[in-house]
């Protein structure tokens, strides 16, 4: 396992960490196979294919088939990493994910590539801002939304180690390596406190975690101490960390996902039934207009400035 301390600055495409880890796992365990839908390039699996040609199964442009084939491979003793654009992997194959993978508890690892609005100008058909909501409601599948290369690697390793269905939501958008102590550990179901703070809490996952940290930095300059919690594990979710965040009295959630059914909803489900506190849910309101990923995030207020302003709003400042 690479030490988080070795990370440098700059922006990373988490697909690189995904395929690097998968190639390493594939070399050590020949049960590991990859299943794709004409998506070798977009999943960056060319290297895996060259190393293990027989273990790369391209079923063509056929996502329902792809997920079902993944379940069949699992039945035959393989550890199937099923990899494609998240919008099609989840949306097109939703019933296969539900019946063949989650309900059947098949040992399938669904890797949703270029999730969120990474496909920008290609529009709502290619955006994947509903995937966490759809899969989270099934309960019987682990849902992970890593925020940087290190966490992506941990997710892929944890998925390979456990027996059962997992969905990993992988972005292609550049993210920085998050600052972490050298002994940082990743555990499914555990939230990660990246910054302590008591005036309010920002709960984020995926590409929004770095923006949440930036917001907390800006708030600190104004004398507001905001906790930043990385909610990579969406299912199971860390109730304890959420209830502790609620103790601060104000929670802003931020996700590159619809405001309906994702992180904000998951947090609200827990907070509202235990220790209600003031909340603001940041995300996308629905189908997005034309624009680049960066433009759309600005357009919907998924910026450090708006995260900070939202927490100020909750605090009445």
């Amino acid at each position: 396992m690479s030490s988080p301390a070795t990370q440098t600055s700059g922006l990373f495409d988490c697909r690189d960490a995904y395929v690097k880890t998968l190639e390493a796992l594939g070399a050590a365990d020949e049960r590991i196979v990859a299943v794709v839908n004409d998506s070798v390039g977009s999943s960056k699996l060319g290297g895996f294919r060259d190393k293990f040609p027989e273990r790369l199964i391209n079923v063509g442009i056929a996502e329902q088939n792809m997920v079902g084939v993944g379940a069949g491979l699992a039945n035959g003793g393989k550890v199937a990493f099923v990899s494609g654009a998240s919008c099609f992997l989840t949306g097109r194959s939703l019933e296969q994910v539900k019946a063949d993978v989650a309900y059947s508890q098949a040992n399938v690892k669904l890797c949703g590539i270029s999730s969120g609005v990474a496909y920008g100008e290609l529009g709502p058909t290619h955006h994947s801002i509903e995937d966490v909501a759809w899969l989270r409601t099934m309960g019987d599948i682990t849902v992970l939304v890593p925020a940087d290369p290190w966490e992506t690697e941990q997710c892929v390793r944890a998925a390979a180690e456990m027996d059962g269905p997992v969905f990993i939501r992988i972005s292609r958008m550049g993210v920085p390596a998050l600052p972490r102590p050298a002994d940082a550990a990743f555990t499914i179901g555990k939230a990660e406190i990246l910054r302590e703070g008591g005036d309010g809490a920002i709960l984020a996952n995926g590409t929004m975690v770095c923006r949440a940290l930036e917001a907390a930095e800006a708030l600190a300059a104004e004398g507001i101490s905001a906790r930043v919690v990385n909610m990579c594990s969406m299912s199971p979710i860390d109730e304890e960390a959420i209830l502790a965040a609620a103790q601060t009295g104000a929670i802003v959630t931020v996700e590159e996902h619809s405001v309906r059914g994702g992180l904000g909803s998951a947090v609200a489900e827990i907070v509202s039934q235990n220790t209600p506190c003031r909340m603001k849910i940041l995300g996308f309101a629905g189908f997005q207009p034309t624009g680049s990923a960066e433009f759309l995030m600005e357009y919907s207020g998924l910026t450090a400035a708006n995260i900070a302003a939202s927490l100020c709003g909750l605090l009445g400042r």
Binding site: F88, T125, T290, G291
Partner: protein
Amino acid sequence: MPESRPRSGQTLAERAAFVREQARWIRKRALRMVFDARQGHPGGDLSATDALAALYFDAMRYDPADPRWVARDRFILSKGHATGALYSTLALAGFFPQEELTTYMQPLSRLNGHPNRNKIPGVETNTGPLGHGMPVAVGIAIAAQIDKADYRTFIITGDGELQEGSNWEAAMTAGHRKLSSLTLIVDRNRLQQGAGTEDTVGLDPLDDKFRAFGWDVVEVDGHDIEALLPLLDGSTPHERPLCIIANTVKGKGISFMENKASWHHGVPNAEQYEQAMKELDA
């Protein structure tokens, strides 16, 4: 509106010459859109252009001033990524101003990377995920059958796209119900996103597959306008749904793009763009 089409009173050669000129304009405009936007799908734009031009500038009945005219012929671009060609065609046909093509994929533009019927007049259904056009077209054709209406429905699918099972479910329904108002054009350029169709998941023999599903099948050179027109203009009656396997060249008309998977969503640099425009003008 239909009377204004140049078809009436013209020879097949004259009609084809007219369509060919529209196709040249569409190719150039589509390429400029991709060049300016720095993204798009030029390979699939160029292979589908001749079929699009044949439909909109000869075969189909429509009124750009009344895009949802009930009696219009319907067209669905199931391979929704070919918007460079589709938008150029719709603008040339008068559905929206040609100047708007410069906004392709710009922030808040109507001209998204994949077509949206609620924003762009002339678009029948929103496509982008492959394998959606056929079922919708089948539904339209069933509605026409119920209403005894004489409008026709045309679809263009990619060939790689036919790996999606939904196409075959729809094909089975269409064959079973003898939906003769339905015409499918398969843009058979033999390439998908990453590689050749036959190297990925083979489709051949494609004609036999459609015949087995209850369709009439013809195979043509998809860039031979004179061969396409009689198949599309209603002069070749068919009792069953018609599948036209249009053998095409991905990147057609630009030497360095032709038959190369990398131009599926490649974007030309300035030098390549200049050369491409010269070739399209030749």
